[in-house]
């Protein structure tokens, strides 16, 4: 198993594990979720230009990212689902979560109708094969002004294990008992109907090419491919479009714990989009492992500070992720500050 992930990571992040280059600059590599990959790709490139260090990020999926970090083939992993306590223990040493932005999982569809309204109940019925046509009475009732075609619905889901699936199904299980009983939540689920594709880009591409398809993807992928996404009904009953304002609203009024491991979907806020999540970078708290040097570890904390700093958060907004709220940012600064090298605080004063 180790051999496989090693090969995989070598393929994904060619320059592995921060070996210093001759001029003193560092190679930093990360791998994980495809959901924030568009953001990380830009922010890593900007950081590389600004500092001369070279940072690569491979979007191989949340699970792959966690495993690569555990195998120590990358310097940081990335995931849309925070590690459970038992997963944290499996990592062998203390792992920290660094939230980098907020994202939404949207339900994109291929139909010539703008602003389609959907509820979790309808989405659940579609994925359970109970609603099979777009002109179903239940969809009509929600969208009286739209001319819904007599077109079969093709639900699309992820064929690989995925953090996006986990975020989406966690929300669905929370608000819909039928979903909870028949499909449940997790990274890899068995759906009774529909077709599957690999990765966020795969699902987005399949929706884009299939008339009548609907699927759940990271909001950035819907925007990038110009797919229409449904307005979802939130807890207070309003139908909300996923945008930076409604995504940010979902993190308001929520107690964020010090380690930021919290689920924020199904927000009570009336302006909030319901299916949202923090997306995290994970790394080892104690950075002196393997043959890592102090300057490599420092380059890594610099990268983290850059991502959650003003420049990084501006890039998040530009790539359609919602920036971290100020209180979360303060907590994240403290988390990065807690990283150590040989037990001593890592960051330069």
């Amino acid at each position: 198993m180790k051999k496989i992930s090693l090969i995989l990571c070598m393929a994904v992040a060619l320059a592995s594990c921060g070996s210093p280059k001759k001029d003193g600059s560092m190679n930093i590599s990360g791998a994980g979720a495809t959901f924030p990959a568009p953001f990380y790709n830009v922010v890593c490139k900007e950081f590389s230009t600004a500092t001369g260090n070279s940072v690569t990020y491979g979007g191989i999926g949340s699970g792959g990212g966690i495993r690569s970090l555990a195998d120590k083939t990358v310097d940081f992993g990335a995931t849309d689902v925070f590690l459970s306590d038992s997963e944290m223990t499996d990592m062998g040493a203390a792992v920290i979560h660094i939230p980098t932005s907020l994202g939404a999982v949207v339900l994109s569809y291929n139909l010539d109708i703008a602003d389609l309204k959907l509820t979790a109940g309808i989405v659940s019925a579609i994925y359970r094969g109970k609603i099979t046509k777009w002109n179903d009475e239940r969809i009509k009732a929600l969208n009286p002004d739209a001319t819904l075609p007599d077109q079969a619905i093709t639900p699309v889901y992820r064929s690989d294990g995925s953090g996006t699936t986990a975020v989406f199904s966690e929300y669905m299980s929370k608000v819909d008992t039928d979903w909870f009983n028949e499909i449940g939540d997790g990274k890899s689920l068995a759906f009774p109907v529909g077709i599957a594709a690999k990765g966020n880009p795969g699902v987005a591409g399949m929706i884009n090419e299939t008339k009548g398809a609907i699927g759940y993807i990271g909001s950035e992928y819907a925007l990038a491919m110009d797919l229409s996404s449904a307005r979802m009904q939130n807890r207070s009953g309003s139908f909300v479009e996923a945008n930076i304002i409604s995504i940010t609203a979902s993190a308001a009024n929520i107690d964020i714990p010090a380690d930021t491991r919290v689920v924020i979907s199904d927000s009570p806020n009336a302006d909030a989009y319901p299916i949202t999540t923090f997306t995290w970078i994970i790394a080892y708290k104690e950075q002196h492992y393997g043959n890592r040097t102090l300057s490599e570890a420092r380059a890594l904390t610099n990268l983290f500070n850059y991502i959650i700093g003003n420049v990084g958060q501006e890039i998040a907004t530009k790539t359609n992720y919602a920036p971290l709220p100020m209180d979360v940012r303060d907590k994240t600064v403290a988390i990065i500050h807690s990283m150590t090298f040989d037990g001593k605080a890592l960051e330069e004063e």
Partner: protein, 281 residues
């Protein structure tokens, strides 16, 4: 001295290949033990693939693989047989045959992802229009693309075997007043029969292992396909789809599927080689 070094290096290279193959087999077997000891024979006969309860089995994928490959073989026979007759019989050594055979060989060089893209963007809308199913993906679409992919393998070998049929035999038949069609039916095809059969077995083996194009076209659902319009998953495509996130028992099950696929393709190839050896003697 030089001769000795040359011989030694050849020997080392050959040994390396054997060791490599043996270690691949060893790796597959050792990593799939977990799955086999957990699920036993049920791994091959049951149809559950449930990540949440950690229950896995290979039947849907074995069926998907066999169904797509057998269909692909059926679809490819009319085309590859005509091509091989054209090249090996009617226009042997003719310019038209050179052109045709190089075009067909070119087909063998097209990367499988390109076939996948072509199937996705060109053939799939056609499937929807024909009303195969709502979104076009499925067994039929993948079988057609697979059929085109294996045509070169089946046809060039078959043509070779057809060309090997002794001229004396054919001339004898002609002298007795047989028409060309009769010569093909009664002399060439029977004489080259087992060779042609072997060519198709090899092509079948190639269809079994094809991954990329099938993964893009079959729909990737973990069920046993019951019809042409059904979506499914093949042994190769389930591995390609899920190994990135897999761990523990799931990874072991994927390895076990890999091992089964290896065994099936290896035995198919072995059969083909055996038949060809018999023919050539």
């Amino acid at each position: 001295m030089k001769d000795k070094i040359f011989r030694a290096s050849l020997f080392v290279a050959a040994c390396l290949i054997i060791i490599l193959t043996a270690s691949i087999v060893y790796g597959l077997v050792s990593q799939s033990l977990d799955a086999f000891s957990n699920f036993g024979f049920g791994f091959i006969t049951s149809s559950e693939w449930d990540s949440r309860n950690d229950v896995y089995s290979a039947l849907p994928f074995i069926m998907g693989t066999l169904l797509t490959s057998v269909l692909a073989l059926l679809f490819c026979i009319p085309f590859s047989l005509s091509v091989s007759l054209f090249n090996g019989e009617y226009f042997r050594g003719h310019r038209a045959s050179t052109i045709l055979s190089s075009v067909v060989d070119l087909l063998a060089g097209v990367p499988s992802i390109v076939f996948g893209l072509w199937g996705f963007y060109t053939l799939r809308p056609l499937m929807v229009e024909m009303g195969v199913n709502e979104q076009g993906f499925g067994v039929l679409l993948s079988s057609i693309v697979l059929a085109i992919m294996i045509i070169p393998y089946a046809s060039s070998l078959s043509a070779e075997f057809l060309a090997m049929v002794p001229n004396d035999l054919k001339e004898g038949a002609y002298s007795l007043g047989a028409t060309r069609l009769e010569v093909i039916q009664r002399v060439s095809l029977p004489a080259a029969g087992s060779g042609i059969f072997a060519a198709y077995v090899l092509a079948f083996g190639r269809a079994l292992g094809e991954t990329m194009a099938v993964t893009m076209l079959i729909g990737n659902t973990n069920n046993i396909p019951h019809g042409l319009g059904d979506t499914g998953n093949t042994m190769a495509s389930i591995i390609a789809n899920q190994f990135g996130e897999a761990g523990g028992l799931k990874l072991s099950s994927l390895m076990a599927i890999g091992l089964l696929l290896f065994l099936i393709t290896a035995s198919i190839n072995f059969i083909a080689k055996y038949i060809m050896k018999m023919v050539r003697q």
